[in-house]
Symmetry: C2
Subunit: 329 residues, 2 copies
DNA sequence: CTGTTAGCGCCTTCAC
DNA sequence: GTGAAGGCGCTAACAG
């Protein structure tokens, strides 16, 4: 493995010149530039990143901590973050917290050890409580999950509004006794529940909510239990894609069809929501855009640490499908 | 940020002793050990990884290059790799090649720059052609995709056999004109096509295959075109989860129901395959196990570089559902 | 514009 | 069992 010294010798210049050329610094004559580049190619030289990072005290690495990598929402976020980061010559270290605050803390620690340039985080509720970006030695951008008070740069969906619109849509279709399942591990679930409750209240209806762990299995179990209610709710609403999957499974196992027996709607436009006849009405999230906005916000924050906090809110899109069709009178 | 020097001063010992204690070396008196540990805690000292890596010439980092992070198959692999790696105090750098050989090469390069301890790779076909693990400065374990000849440690499914069983099952159910869609970007697709063809031949039937890009959209388009065939095939078979999704969408758009109008089967037991009535018959892959086997194989290879090459083959499980039900005569 | 040089923080012989 | 000192490979003053 070639070292910078050998490159310098080969090119007949000093190591400083090699370093300068590679760093793209101005103030190097074209002649030496070419010589160095030739030498680099000839020796297949690649700078030792460990040495560079030690010396320069920067890693050009950003940490991405997602709540659950199995959730397609987060894989799409990851893709976006990676794409943009690599365009800016930055590496990405990915951490999967599995909705577990301890793992989350572990990864935050790890990011500190790795001396990352910045972090994109989708925090669990315990972590978010009392969260202050200033407590960390690197800038942090929150994505998907964030309370109303801005304690850090953040990119989120218009959760309250989206849930309101989704609920209002169901009500307009004649569904009045709507049961809302929301995840307890995230601020997002809570905010969507607020939007739902507001929409119900605005129409003079009583809110009925069920708090569940934000997993498919927990949602299925909770839904199965509630399907014994008499009278049956008019509609079931899910605050997230995983929960929606659980509800759908529960309905199927119970032999209930939608919208015939009961209506259904939720968040996240996953491929299968179109496939399950007659299609499930959802709020589609601009997932890639969310990730892109997050990494761009982070890069800006890194460039200008003192800039005022920012909060980007993207709009969810209501996609009406058969599962919420008008209730026969 | 505390440095090793300050820890040494605080503890009243030399930096060498601190280093020794932290590395868990023997030959340190219990007294100094305790003093050092105290100092570390008091100063919240964390070794500088860049410095350590420069000096020790090891990164304790493994690279994971997956073909497509949006494919749930690979997210599950990632989870497994991460879990095991962190249990062994190793970091994971994830790269998403997006089925693009150039991105794949880019990441392989990056892994070299990062001086990783080893790599787990799921190669595209172009990369696999002429692939030799020895060409890289780190050990490589292939996962999911690998030709029969062992050019590297590998963990794969019994692709040929699984496809054979799946096809035989359809034939037994009375489906004789079965059309097989397989992905062209992976060895896996090719191997599954072989298994299919063998099963058809064994029953005196003519194989009909359609090569497609391994994406949902490409599969849907190809299937839509073939659904104009008259007579219609008895069954459609997909060589992967993404392709299966594409076929399912095409059938739905064409207004064809399964198994009534046409039977359907494929690989990967994704959540929605149970949801789409009356359920889709699939080969379920032990995804987490595949990932786990891969990282364990890699760790063993790192520990014993000269050991003989190994190849782990896991078995796919046939899950019969309604989509392949007996053909009415 | 270019070269010399002093470290970045840590590990690891080598003496004691 | 412990400490002193050299150097991993690179960047960034600084001097010329």
């Amino acid at each position: 493995m070639a070292r910078i010294k050998e490159v310098a010798k080969w090119a007949g210049v000093s190591v400083a010149s090699v370093s300068r050329v590679l760093a793209g610094h101005a103030g190097v004559s074209e002649v030496t530039r070419q010589r160095v580049l030739e030498a680099v190619k000839a020796l297949d030289y690649r700078p030792d990143l460990a040495a560079r990072r030690l010396r320069s005290r920067r890693t050009d690495t950003i940490g991405l901590i997602v709540s659950d990598i199995r959730n397609p929402f987060f894989t799409e976020i990851s893709r976006a973050v990676e794409d943009v980061a690599y365009q800016h010559q930055m590496r990405v270290i990915l951490g999967n917290a599995d909705e577990n605050p301890e793992k989350e803390a572990l990864y935050l620690d790890l990011m500190r050890d790795e001396n990352v340039t910045g972090v994109i985080l989708s925090p669990t509720l315990p972590t978010l409580a009392g969260f202050r970006a200033d407590d960390y030695p690197f800038p942090i951008v929150l994505v998907d999950r964030c309370e109303r008070e801005t304690v850090a740069d953040a990119v989120v969906l218009d959760n309250v509004d989206a849930a309101y619109r989704l609920t209002a849509h169901l009500i307009e279709q004649g569904h009045r006794r709507n049961l809302f399942f929301y995840g307890t591990t995230s601020a997002t679930g809570r905010q969507r529940q607020e939007g739902y409750t507001a929409a119900m209240a605005a129409h003079g209806l009583e809110a009925q909510v069920e708090a569940v762990l934000a997993t498919v299995d927990a949602a299925r179990a909770a839904a199965t239990a509630r399907l014994n209610d008499r009278p049956l709710p008019d509609a079931l609403i899910a605050s997230s894609g995983l929960i929606l999957l659980g509800l759908t499974e529960a309905l199927q196992e119970a032999g209930l069809r939608f919208p015939g027996s009961i209506a259904l709607a939720g968040f996240d436009d996953m491929p299968w929501t179109r496939l399950v006849e007659p299609g499930i009405t959802v709020i589609a999230q601009p997932t890639y855009d969310l990730g892109q906005a997050a990494i761009e916000l982070l890069l800006q924050r890194i460039a200008q640490p003192e800039k005022a906090r920012r909060r980007v809110v993207l709009r969810g899109e209501l996609r009406e499908r058969g599962s919420s069709a008008k209730r026969g009178v």
